[in-house]
């Protein structure tokens, strides 16, 4: 492509420091030691563990709340995405997957839900999550199940009717053959009677 070659030419002629598909210069530099600032791995400005237990408990509480908010938001995001995709697919008659949000949108939605649940302290209990989940998975299938049931009953009825018609057809055939036989016998008797007369 013309545009590709233009882009390549511009880059090849540049004086910038770069490498394509190759990190060896970067890694070589990266493997050199950093300027030693005479510090320790463990920060001096952190208090000892026993002193900060109280603060830690507080932090842990907040962390636990954030974890709950995150878990709840994951759950809600999934439910919203599945529910909305299913609803849209019922309208469009496309597949459910074609209406699902992409991963970036889901992450953003999840992030906003997390903030919301943290702000409101909203935490859906596990039993309620399970109930919502079951309702979403199976509940949405109820209209389809009812439709399928109607079709299956209709199919059974038509099958019975077909069998009944088959039997009637057999019976009709049998009667027709008997009647033909009777007529033949009658004709034969008539012929014999005519001859004897």
């Amino acid at each position: 492509m013309l545009t590709d070659s233009l882009v390549e030419d511009e880059v090849v002629n540049s004086d910038y420091n770069f490498a394509d598909g190759d990190l060896s210069a970067f890694q070589s530099e990266f493997s050199q030691p950093k300027q030693d600032m005479g510090i320790s791995d463990i920060p001096d400005d952190l208090e000892d563990e026993d002193v900060e237990q109280e603060q830690l408990a507080e932090v842990e509480d907040r962390a636990a709340m954030t974890r709950h908010a995150r878990q709840t938001s994951k759950f809600v995001t999934h439910i919203v995405d599945s529910g909305a995709a299913l609803g849209l697919s019922l309208i469009s008659k496309n597949s459910v997957d074609s209406h699902k949000a992409d991963s970036d949108d889901l992450k953003e939605l999840e992030r906003i839900f997390t903030e919301y649940f943290k702000e409101t302290g909203g935490n859906i209990p596990l039993w309620a999550q399970l109930l919502i989940c079951l309702t979403t998975i199976y509940g949405f299938q109820i209209p389809q199940a009812l439709k399928d049931r109607k079709l299956n009953l209709e199919r059974e009825r038509l099958e019975l009717e077909r069998k009944k018609l088959e039997l009637e057809k057999e019976e009709f055939k049998r009667l027709k053959e008997a009647e033909l036989q009777r007529i033949k016998t009658q004709q034969k008797e008539n012929d014999e009677q005519r001859k004897s007369n």
Partner: protein
């Protein structure tokens, strides 16, 4: 002879599936430094131990560990990390455009703390502007967002980086794992 180098702040950008995490893992494993990978959730980097960074002993680790970002305390906790590599994976998930001043301080003080930093995102707009201000290196895989939105904070080489984005994207049509390393001199 003095072989000591300055600490690095590397911006690693690439769309899903381009190979940026694989490349980053290689860099970390070969670096012979300890590394702390900060991730937005618990589904990434699961092969490394989780570190809550809540006690002094949590900072005494070696090798690679991950920390799941918690907005309640992570920024303060990360500020205590020193002598190693700090990776902000998918940093848009936990840093907003209006970045906390603590992040700015973290970037400025990286030399004193002997910390190399990687900021990882799907594109230019997925990494907060303050990282571009202090970037020493870029590693660009295919990205699809608009680099012009970061024009104000990319002080050096903006035009070249923009050209490089177009170049890498054109190469990625044939090789989705194609990347370019740019030293931001």
């Amino acid at each position: 002879m003095n072989n000591e180098r300055a600490t690095k702040l590397t911006i690693l950008l690439g769309f899903n599936g381009t190979g940026k995490t694989t490349l980053l893992r290689e860099v970390l494993l070969h670096s012979q430094q300890r590394a702390l990978v900060v991730t937005p959730d618990d589904v990434e980097w699961t092969d490394f131990p989780e570190n809550p960074l809540q006690t002094r002993s949590d900072y005494a680790f070696t090798g690679i560990q991950r920390h799941i970002f918690n907005p309640e305390y992570s920024l303060d906790a990360i500020a205590h990390f020193r002598k190693g590599i700090l990776v902000f994976d998918d940093c848009r998930s936990y840093f907003q455009d209006r970045t906390d001043p603590k992040v700015r301080e973290l970037l400025i003080r990286r030399r004193q703390r002997e910390v190399d930093i990687f900021a990882v995102g799907h594109g230019f707009t997925q990494v907060p502007p303050v990282f571009f201000t202090f970037a020493s290196d870029y590693i660009l895989f295919k990205t699809v967002d608009n680099i012009d939105r970061r024009k104000d904070c990319i002080a050096n080489n903006f035009d070249f980086i923009k050209q490089s984005q177009a170049f890498v994207n054109s190469k990625a049509l044939k090789d989705p794992h194609f990347f370019r390393h740019i030293k931001n001199v």
